[in-house]
Every structure is written in structure tokens, then in C-alpha cells.
Symmetry: C2
Subunit: 380 residues, 2 copies
């Protein structure tokens, strides 16, 4: 039934397995010819969009609002906080300046883009907390070997930047960021540990850094989200000041939170995959159930009609369903949906129609069994 050879062994040859699955499942194309930049293909974007929307909704439901800041940062902004610029300056892509214009950086992260505006928007305690996020790309001139979605020069993430009256409120936000990440990672079926980083390993400019790590199949650790308590380290140089309830001027206490969307996708792909391709958790699968009609001469009509009927029943209960009536052979279809990780497949053939049963296949178990048609919704 397998039109192509299986993938390399994930545990023994993770790097080879990862490259091949990215290519064969049409997730990423690395042939773009600029170091550290890759093309996100259609099958990846559908996973990315599900991860993105899960995290965005979670932030919005907790009182964050979405904004979009320019991709360029004046170098003078970037240089305002000393530890921060020291941490990033070597990695910055710079845009050629025209005469009389200031040199601009492609943002490596957005603290220094956003906080000059926070200084303009925040006046009194009534403007606090201010909780904003943006979704987009950032740029770092990574000098080490790059790896698609894991280490690149362009990466796709969400950044939430919040301002509070005091340390206590800010630390409560850090705790909430950790909750948001935990909830999402559980939906994506990812095991993780969250630890506070040591002094030498902190985000440049942070007072405290907490990071989420996933263990990858090659034994390496992948950091997929961080949240930082910035204290007043940025609100002092950027003069983000508010009048408190007693009428006194105070610096806001800030936090920033960066769940890495590309890296979460990398972890989902790497941790759940096997030698047949992706194994997507139900919540991040663009197609949750694929229905494959098994043609039989003279019975085509009944079989396709039954397949469509089953599809409609699943859509009614909001399952992302595809009825694949294309002309490919069933074996090629089985192979394809296993490769892209579709969690469940339902086969509908002559026997299924006459017996009133459906053949179920679960991608994670790679096991087939028969189910009474009436039990369809329960089974899914």
C-alpha cells in the first residue's frame, strides 16, 4: 500500500528524518537560497494557523488586545537599554540608511519598538494594566547552523507586552503567561518543563526569565516559549511613567511573553511523528477525519453517496472533514493522509455500505477496526 519508501528511523537519525518529513509532507522548502530563510508551505501554514489562533484567542480572552508595530526599529531606540542592545546588536539586520536618515534595524524582538509608544499612551493608573500583543516575524542573524522552524534568521511568533502598577501584578501576569502556555501545549500534546533561567541564560534586559523546554527525539532541548519579568529596566530609559493613586510619578513594571509559533510546530512535528510521517494531535490537525471511498465497479454511486453522507454528519458536529473523491487509488490516498498526519481515516467500500458498518483507521495507533454506522459520532 506504500507507494514510496518509509522515512528514516526518527530515534536513530532524527536530523535525516526531520529534513525528509518537512519535504515530503510539503511543510517547508529549504531551497530559497538565503541562509536561515525558508518557505512555509501550505500544509505547514494550516498547522501554524491553528496554533496561532489557539494562542491569540487565549490572550484575547484574558484581556490582551492585538496591535501591529512597524518591522523597523531606529537604532537609537534599540540602544536605549544597555544589556538589551549588547545582547542583540551583533545579530541585527540593518537597513542601508539614506542621507540624513537614521539607520534602521529589522526587529530582533519588539521591546524597544513598543515602549516609546507605551510612554505616550500611559499617563495614570487608570491606563493600567496595558496588555497588548502582536503576531509576526522577527529577524536575528544567527551564525550557527540553521534548521528550519527550530533555528532560523526569520521566525514567526507572538509577542505580548504588558505594563502594570507594581511588581506583584507583573509577577501575577508571568504566572498567567505560564498558564496560557501550559494550556496550549497540552492541546498540542506536548510534554514540557518550565524553569526559571539562571542569571547567565536570561533574556537581555530581563529581571527574571521563565522558559518552556520540550525534549526532542535527538535528546536536545528545544525552548518553545519564554516569559520575562522586566521590572523597571525598560520603563526607566523609555520613561514609561504613570501617576499613581496618590498622585505620585512611578515607573511601570513590565512583562513580555513570547510563545514561538514556528518552534511549537517544530515540536509537534518532531515529537509525534513516525516513519510514516506526521501524527497530528486532533486539535492542530487541519483535516481531522478523511473519508476515502473504496471504488467497486457498478457500485460507485452508492459508495460515494455514503461517503458524503458520513462527511456531512461529521461536519455537523464540527469535525474538520475531507471526503477525498479524487481519482487516485485508495492506497495512494492512505499513504498521503498518513504522511500529513490526519488523525483518523474512514473507509467506505461495497461491504461497508451493505453491512451498515464503517472501517476506521487511527493514525497514532495505525490500527483498523469496524464500527457500526450509528456509532459514528461516538467513535470520533
Amino acid at each position: 500500500m506504500q507507494p514510496e519508501r518509509a522515512l528514516p528511523d526518527k530515534e536513530k537519525q532524527f536530523s535525516e528524518w526531520y529534513s525528509e518529513v518537512l519535504e515530503r509532507a510539503e511543510l517547508v522548502d529549504i531551497r530559497y537560497n538565503v541562509k536561515g530563510f525558508v518557505v512555509y508551505r501550505q500544509n505547514l501554514m494550516r498547522i501554524i494557523n491553528l496554533i496561532r489562533s489557539e494562542l491569540e484567542s487565549s490572550l484575547i480572552s484574558r484581556g490582551h488586545q492585538q496591535v501591529m508595530f512597524p518591522i523597523v526599529i531606529p537604532m537609537s531606540y534599540l540602544r536605549k537599554e544597555q544589556e538589551h542592545v549588547t545582547g542583540f546588536e551583533a545579530e541585527v539586520f540593518k537597513i542601508r540608511a539614506e542621507e540624513g536618515e537614521e539607520e534602521l534595524a529589522l526587529r530582533p524582538t519588539s521591546e524597544t519598538a513598543m515602549y516609546p509608544m507605551y510612554a505616550l499612551w500611559i499617563h495614570s493608573y487608570r491606563d493600567l494594566p496595558l496588555k497588548l500583543f502582536q503576531t509576526g516575524t522577527v529577524y536575528r542573524k544567527e551564525t550557527r547552523a540553521t534548521k528550519p522552524l527550530i533555528r532560523g534568521r526569520e521566525f514567526f511568533w507572538i509577542e505580548a507586552h504588558d505594563a502594570f502598577e507594581n511588581e506583584e501584578q507583573a509577577l501575577a501576569q508571568v504566572k498567567e503567561d505560564i498558564e496560557i502556555t501550559k494550556e496550549a501545549l497540552r492541546k498540542f500534546g506536548l510534554a514540557f518543563i518550565v524553569v526559571e533561567r539562571e542569571e547567565w541564560d536570561k533574556f537581555p534586559g530581563a529581571e527574571r526569565t521563565f522558559a518552556f523546554d520540550c525534549l526532542m527525539p535527538d535528546g536536545k532541548v528545544l525552548q518553545i516559549a519564554t516569559t520575562h519579568y522586566l521590572g523597571t529596566k525598560f520603563s526607566k530609559p523609555f520613561e514609561v511613567i504613570y501617576l499613581d493613586r496618590a498622585g505620585e510619578k512611578k515607573n511601570v513594571h513590565q512583562t513580555c511573553f513570547g510563545p514561538g509559533i514556528s518552534r511549537m510546530a517544530a515540536a509537534v512535528i518532531s515529537i509525534h511523528g513516525d516513519e510514516f510521517g506526521l501524527v497530528l494531535p486532533f486539535d492542530v490537525a487541519p483535516i481531522q477525519v478523511v473519508i476515502v471511498p473504496i471504488p467497486k465497479e457498478g457500485k460507485e454511486k452508492e459508495i460515494v453517496a455514503k461517503a458524503k453522507e458520513v462527511g456531512e454528519r461529521l461536519e455537523k458536529i464540527r469535525i474538520r472533514t475531507l471526503v477525498d473523491t479524487s481519482e487516485e487509488r485508495p492506497g495512494a490516498k492512505f499513504y498521503k493522509y498518513e504522511l500529513i498526519g490526519t488523525p483518523a481515516r474512514i473507509e467506505v467500500g461495497e461491504k461497508e455500505v451493505s453491512e451498515g458498518k464503517l472501517t476506521f483507521f487511527r493514525r497514532d495507533l495505525r490500527r483498523r477496526w469496524k464500527v457500526e454506522e450509528s456509532e459514528l459520532e461516538v467513535e470520533v
Copy 2:
């Protein structure tokens, strides 16, 4: 009832009106300090997301798939099609190259980023049509006076790039692009004309260009979407070749389509607004109905309970509803939701509760009337 003065007269002083409404309705902040780059604030992003999702769904339902290409384009790619680079080179932001690396452009548009990959992905007629789109920002060093959302150096749009076997199929796509745009613009309540551009006014590298224009309140024309038949002008230099049904090598025929999300938002804001702020069409309003309780001593509980009950009834029929129970005065709330363009307001006070009626206010008509509570869903 108006805590602040009205806006300038839109018809007589459009520029002043536009700047003030962008600021007061918290749509855009122009104080970012880099020419042509502005901050998209929370109230704008909600409108932008509705426009974006309308267009993206429309493309996906017509067989397009979403991708994400790098933001940098090697200069050698950009220079491959002569008319194209002549049209763009002066406007390109260039990234300082490191020794031994090629100079990179921040993409001004994505033809030359995407088509080298199309050459790798397309082999035979079975790979066609290829219909991909991406949503994101592009960069042009605009030298004229900039205006937020209308003319800037960073703008937010969708680009769809399609490849076909022949001219006929490609022109059918151009027709479909026009249909997609018309449908969207009708939802956004925008009148428009669509015209084929003359030779001198075409997209650099296109065979034929069709553009959508809206008439702005100052009498100027705003181009908010274009679709182009590229013929084989790019598929020749980029060698995007397929084997046809007869086994012969042919160049694909291409189209590209660019609905401008920022510009559509600018048109919605400008065309529908008035001296009290935005007037959003129902489909692009982040909040479609706001419910404002009118407090009365001793009756707070009943009033708030009724407001929430009305809110729940509207949410059940999928209306984006907000019950504003904050401590602000009702007058300040009325002002705020008129400013951000909320299409309808329902007031719930003591009288409304005792009479079983609701007070309705329509933003576009600025008119109030009473409605029987039982008629709520019908009225909305």
C-alpha cells in the same frame, strides 16, 4: 451628551478629519518617528482582522492555499525581469550585506521571491493550476508625502499568485479575482469602479492590469486592489515550465492579485465616517451591538441582569455583542461607541425593564426608537 468636541467636517476638511479620527478612535498612532511607518492600534487591528479573514476565506474556498515566503529577496531574483525591477528598484529598502553574502531587498512585492520556487514545484500539467497566497507586509521607499493606511512605506495586504496552462485559464482567474473583490467590497459597503489600466499605468511586468478604485471624500481616487495577467513575462526568465498533455515543454501563464487590506480599511473609515467618528458596516464591525445599562438607584441589579440577558440572546444568534457594565457614565459610553463606529446600541434602563421594551440606536441614522423586547432578534 458629547464629552469632547465633534470632529472636523469630513467633506470640507477631509485631511484634518481623517487624522483626527485615526487618533481619537485609537486606530493608528503616527508618532513612531520613522517616515511612512505607523503603529496599527487595537481598534484598527480588529477591523483589519475582519477584512483579512473575509478575503482569506474567499480565496481558500476557491481553491487557493496559504503559504509564507521570506521577507527578504536576493537582488539577483529581483533583477530577473527587466520591466519589473525598473519599476521597483528605486523604491527598495536594502539590507546591508555581509562579506561574501548577496545583497537582500525587503520585498516590495513577491513575484520574484515566489516564482523561483514555482519553477521547482511545477513539473507537469498535473501540477496546474497552482494557486497560492500569502498575507503580510511589503515595503516601498515611498518618496511622496505619506498618509497612514493610504500611502506608506510598509503596507499590509494579501498577494495571490497563480499559475495556469494557458492564457484562457489565466484570464478566467483574473475574472474570478474581480468577483472576489466585488463580493468583499459589497460586504464592506464600498462603492467602486473596476477598470483596465492603460499601458503607462500597468503593474511593472504585467501584460494586463485591472484595478479597483474607490472615490474618497476629498474627490481623490484610492486604488484598493489590483489583479494582473502576467502572461509568460515572469515564467520565461524564472523558467517556470511544465510538460503539457502532449509531452511538450511550455511556460506557465500567470496571474497575481493584490487586495490591499490597509487600503480597504482606509476606505471603510473614510467613506462611512461622519463628524462623530466611524460608521462601520455590520460585517466589519468588531462590536456589532453594544448594550448600555442606564443605572438607577435601587434598580441596578434588575437593569444589569436584563442587559446581560439581552446580550446573551444576541450572542446566541452570533451577533458580536458587548454588554458594557463599566463605571463610566452612559453619556461617555454613547460617545465612545459612536466614535469607534459600533453599528447599533441598545439602552436598558428602569423604564425599559418595567415596560418590557428596549431603546434602540442606529449609528448610521443616529436615530433612537423603542422596540418590544420580544422583537429583539428581528430588529437586529
